[in-house]
Assembly symmetry: C2
């Protein structure tokens, strides 16, 4: 059986990412959240009163698509909104949100460790630089 795809870095990149994401979501499912939820929680935790729009810019999620994401976290009482001015509202973690984030962090930490363990030791230091090289270029285009 010929498999010309597994020699294409682009293809393997997608598959590796999909596998990692699926694995992460399996871990997060226990907490009732998805990876996108957690990425927002992490961001809000690090930047209290972050605007929904600004969070979207960092996460590369468009304003329109932030709405259901934020609504969901509001409904779960994981975040709250606090008016900043007449149109913007700063996001904050509730105590429930902080507690859940702590649990999610444990899941993520474990996930990241597992990821590293998959890679032969001598290649491990190169993982992040390579991925950043691939990602950062697209960032300069987008923003």
């Amino acid at each position: 059986m010929q498999d010309p795809l597994s020699s294409l870095p682009g293809y393997v990149l997608s598959r590796a990412a999909a596998a990692a994401l699926a694995e992460l979501n399996r871990g997060l499912a226990k907490l009732g959240v998805r990876h996108s939820d957690v990425s927002l929680l992490i961001l809000v935790n690090a930047n209290p009163r972050l605007t929904q729009s600004d969070a979207g810019k960092l996460l590369d999620i468009q304003r329109a698509n932030m709405v259901p994401l934020v609504s969901r976290l509001l409904e779960l009482s994981l975040i709250s909104k606090e008016p900043v001015d007449g149109r913007s509202q700063g996001l904050l973690l509730t105590s429930k949100g902080k507690k859940l984030l702590k649990e999610a962090q444990a899941v993520i930490d474990h996930h990241e460790v597992q990821l590293q363990l998959l890679i032969p030791e001598h290649l491990r230091p190169h993982l992040l630089p390579i991925l950043h090289a691939l990602w950062d270029s697209s960032r300069s285009k987008t923003s």
Copy 2:
């Protein structure tokens, strides 16, 4: 602005893959196909009379999800079906499919080259081994 996400390999992996995929799809859009279409075309080209089910196993796409994909390519006359036995049908590239694949290959080749160019030269040889390390582990779980 704190960005705790960009130090997480798992997160950066997803973003890098998403960026690469989006870029590839931009290139393929001119041809009226998507990356998933092309991955199937490549596979069928390398393995004529491949069964839809077997292609799904290689691409990690479930049988049910292969249906719309194959239907689309049939409708575009890029592939054809040839009965193998009472239930299976082998997939074949039509001449139109071969022609389009050749154009798509050019797009992909260019895409893969660009990908490599983003990475500092001394890291380039490590790209594929690292990605395979991440991907292959999930393959042994799945199959």
